[in-house]
């Protein structure tokens, strides 16, 4: 390949890349939604059957205290958690619950499980106005 043709294909890539980056189809949107729904669904399984997924060590499940993920208030995070004395994210509070009531080990913040739990919590709270910082 000549030097010129490399430059040309580079330019072509840029041009087409530009076009493709901003273009998506209905099918794409459906697929992406399905990806989210699958994560939320996995989150629900973790929520209900926390013990079989080994989130904790004492058979306690998230759903025992939080039916339909209520009293998790995802719309209020990040917020100042008075008991911890600092502003924390929802994921940190999820880990707090895993460590304490569930007597388990904290999840990595970017783990598939943590993301799934957050997806489920948010999906049960659709339509609620964002209220970051609200106590």
């Amino acid at each position: 390949m000549t030097r010129n043709s490399i430059i040309i294909s580079g330019v072509m890539l840029l041009v087409f890349g530009f076009i493709y980056a901003d273009t998506f189809t209905k099918e794409d949107v459906i697929r992406w939604q399905k990806e989210f729904d699958a994560a939320a669904k996995y989150g629900r399984q973790l929520w209900e059957n926390s013990a079989s997924f080994k989130l904790g060590t004492n058979n306690v499940a998230c759903a025992q205290c939080h039916p339909n993920a209520t009293n998790t208030h995802p719309e209020t995070y990040p917020k100042f958690q008075k008991q911890l004395g600092r502003v924390v994210s929802l994921a940190e509070m999820v880990n707090w619950c895993i460590i304490n009531p569930l007597e388990g080990k904290p999840l990595k913040l970017d783990s598939k499980e943590m993301v799934a739990l957050l997806a489920y919590i948010h999906s049960e709270r659709r339509g609620v106005k964002l209220a970051p910082g609200k106590h």
Binding site: E48, T57, N58, N59, V60, A63, Q64, C65, H66, P67, N68, T70, N71, H73, Q83, W96, C97, N100, P101, E124, R125, R126, G127, V128
Partner: protein
């Protein structure tokens, strides 16, 4: 002469020493009403025989981890309630246990729960909860505690205990195993669950039982689920609630006391006052906290404070019930939070929170 709660002593001073040995240290810091000799004497002189107290412990959810290991948190809740109830002065006439003694109805859980309850110094009556029932349809529970529904009379009040957590036979039979059925019913928000009901056979029994009772005799009915419809999605609900209410309608003074909801609720429907009781295990969110569904918490209810998860026992507790001339005052002993009293107000004809009915606080807002 009505006995005022503020004049009662909850814990006798002499008992505090013994209590400290049994209980988490924080208990001795809890301030209860002061005993006043004069007030106690006056109440006695008035000689109102229908005034008495009973204690109510509910929703312990004793949960087996494996072998003889049980969830410490729930064990502590029940142990503490029993130890505190034992210190109640004046002594309660009896204790009610409001159902959900176990989590999955296992023999190990019910045995372990019964063992903790055996430390209770008073005669105890039990109500069936769904967590006790759906593994073996109540067989193990019956062996331990007796009949699933019954009535008794005490100091001029007719007491009724119902098993209100029955459901359709077709649902009971659709699961591949008994444990699968239990697990499906144990999930509060499980869409594959089934609505609770008292059922025709029991309603027939209730009608016959009530036929023998004078309409002026106060009736207090205990059930696990609310005999009113609050939120079907979590079974804060009894499918044939109206039919049971109709049977209670001819009576002048009727109170229904229920567990299952793990939170303070109260209501007045016609002649019937409703009071819920707290769980010793964990609190549940108020149903209006679920933004995707509609529910109808009685407007009368001033909710308890939002729970602080960093206090393991917050928004859990037990209660003692004062029965005064046939109507009740439910005194909620909330570990790690301010105690609450919901008392029948003769002037307005409904149960009311004695402190917060007309002035709610920010902490009582649930969203």
């Amino acid at each position: 002469m009505s006995r005022d709660i503020s004049r009662r002593t909850f814990l006798g001073r002499s008992a505090l020493g013994a209590a400290a040995a049994l209980l988490p240290v924080t208990l001795v810091n809890v301030v209860f009403g002061q005993k006043k000799g004069g007030a106690a004497q006056k109440a006695k002189a008035a000689g109102d025989k229908t005034d008495f107290t009973f204690a109510y412990i509910s929703d312990a959810h004793i949960q087996q981890i494996s072998g003889n290991k049980f969830v410490r948190n729930w064990d502590q809740g029940l142990k503490r309630a029993v130890a505190e109830a034992n210190l109640l002065i004046p002594r309660p006439d009896f204790v009610m246990f409001g159902g959900d003694l176990g989590q999955l109805g296992k023999k190990e859980e019910l045995d372990h729960g019964a063992e903790i309850m055996s430390a209770c110094k008073y005669k105890t009556h039990y109500v069936m909860g769904e967590h006790d029932f759906y593994l073996d349809m109540g067989a193990c529970w019956e062996k331990l505690f007796g009949k699933q529904y019954y009535s008794f009379d005490h100091k001029g009040v007719h007491f009724i205990v119902l098993n209100s957590i029955l459901t359709y036979d077709s649902w009971n039979k659709k699961w591949p195993s008994a444990m699968e059925r239990m697990v499906q019913m144990a999930g509060l928000d499980n869409p594959l669950g089934s609505p609770f009901m008292v059922g025709e056979a029991q309603r027939k029994w209730l009608a016959a039982d009530l036929a023998k009772v004078d309409k002026n005799v106060p009736v207090i009915l205990f059930s696990h689920s609310p005999i009113q419809k609050i939120y079907k999605g979590w079974n804060f609900w009894t499918e044939d609630a109206e039919k049971v209410q109709a049977l209670l309608k001819p009576f002048k003074k009727v109170t229904v006391i229920y567990g299952h909801v793990h939170q303070i609720q109260y209501n007045q429907i016609g002649n019937i006052s409703f009071n819920s009781v707290m769980a010793t295990a964990w609190p549940w969110p108020y149903p209006q906290s679920y933004a995707l569904a509609k529910s109808s918490l009685p407007v009368l209810t001033v909710p308890m404070n939002r729970a602080d998860p960093f206090f393991e026992r917050d928004a859990t507790g037990w209660q003692f019930i004062d029965v005064n001339s046939g109507k009740v005052a439910a005194n909620y002993l909330l570990t790690d939070n301010e105690n609450r009293t919901v008392k029948y107000n003769r002037k307005t004809g409904r149960p009311e929170d004695v402190k917060y009915q007309n002035k709610r606080t920010a902490a009582q807002e649930h969203y």
